[in-house]
Symmetry: C2
DNA sequence: AAGTGGTCTAGACCACCCT
DNA sequence: GGGTGGTCTAGACCACTTT
């Protein structure tokens, strides 16, 4: 026989700075703290709650990070209103997401070949036209249906050619795991919207003209080396993203 | 005659915690710190750089916030690789954005009327079907062309009816500036993609079937009151969003 | 000059992880 | 038990803003 562990009420066991942050946040949600209001000086908050200044500042830092407060040196700490018509959206790493859901990505290769690079990808990767690069097309599937069309140019490394088997699995990071000098350190993304071409629609088992997210991607390795460029097309009928709300 | 103030090299004048954060960040960008590496214990970093533990922790907190480091209590602080296939995108408040660019938004009313609310918006706003609400359509223009189509249901307040002139200007926050109980405290957004209907295309001076961003919006006031619901359609040929990279 | 937030120190104890 | 990060204190000085 097994017992289910009762969830303990941990509200009162949490650190002082979290309690204070929650208290102030609740006061805002109840309309007691209003945009434009100035908070009491930090030392006064210390007295009120019986906390040291560092602890109080730790609480305020959370709320500043959330965008609820704004500090102005020499003037005070002020309540800021929420940005109602804009927000922050997280588009998660697709591979990582599927892995977390226990549905490993299937990414069969559509195309994988060595090409003489043309002007646009050459410029993006910062190499000369006509140099060789790997061109790659994949359809990423999760939950038994095609979801993302991935198209990439990858820098060619004669010292360690990539195998077809490697190209069909995992993200760029996984791909370069054994390339010490090519390990990604940064990725620049650009989010746009598009409609499916007939080829994309066929590969994604959808319909031409349907809307889709498009994410252009430039992958940087150490020392400002660009190692991959391409874009990913996300089926619009399968993806939507909530704005981020940071928990207290 | 005017002198241009030479920008002073402030690298060395910045606070110690920022210098330390930059140092570690640079080491990562140069490939000296690699994903999976464990940093030295905090006390050791203190000795190395001649700083107190609080200052070192302040530096590490920045890098944790950036996603470069991960702390594990009892184990250590570890370097995390970047998420190359996903990212964070900021879609700014359109009104705010235009104001910052010195191009105040023009938002002529297309429709503004009191309606008996139907099932879907009633459910979203948490009120009963058949209650009155304000229905609003606007085209937001900036830089001399229509960019966003905004459609909203707004809770009706008999005590303080909104004037047509007020509806044509500014965001929900501006609209409710004089409604103490309706001041927005939170906004839930949901980002999807769509194609323009013929009506939307006409209003936005575009073409039906063109792709567009769509942001559904639910605005909350104090005490869990929902005050507005609707969605905004952003012309796909005029908007694209880079992923956020937090500066050190 | 007074008040505010920004930075920093030296030291303490606790919670968690590993061996 | 030893090492690690997590929390917290009391106090100091500095930089900026306002009066």
């Amino acid at each position: 026989m097994e017992f289910v562990e009762e969830p303990v009420e941990r509200m009162d066991e949490s650190p002082a700075y979290q309690k204070l942050a929650r208290t102030l946040h609740n006061q805002f949600m109840e309309g007691k703290l209003r945009p434009g209001d100035r908070l009491p000086p930090e030392l006064e908050i210390c007295e009120t709650f019986g906390l040291s200044r560092i602890t109080v500042r730790q609480a305020l830092a959370i709320l500043v990070e959330q965008g609820l407060l704004r500090r102005e040196q020499g003037r005070g700490t002020f309540v800021v209103g929420p940005r109602v018509d804009g927000g922050v959206f997280v588009i998660p790493d697709f591979y990582e997401e599927m892995r977390l859901r226990g549905r490993p990505t299937i990414a069969p290769l559509i195309t994988a070949k060595l090409v003489m690079i043309t002007s646009i990808p050459a410029e993006k990767l910062g190499i000369v036209q006509g140099e060789p690069a790997i061109y790659l097309e994949r359809v990423l599937s999760g939950e038994d249906e095609p979801l993302v069309f991935d198209r990439k140019y990858i820098l060619y490394n004669p010292a360690r050619p990539l195998l077809e088997a490697e190209l069909g699995e995992g993200s760029i990071t996984d791909l370069f795991r054994e390339f010490p000098d090519w390990l990604p350190v940064k990725s620049d993304l650009y989010l746009t919207v598009t409609t499916l071409s007939s080829r994309e629609a066929e590969l994604l088992q959808s319909t031409p003209g349907k809307p889709a997210f498009c994410i252009e991607q430039l992958v940087w390795a150490a020392n400002d080396l660009r190692v991959a460029w391409g874009w990913m097309v996300y089926r619009g009928d399968r993806f939507g993203f909530p704005s981020m709300t940071r928990p207290i």
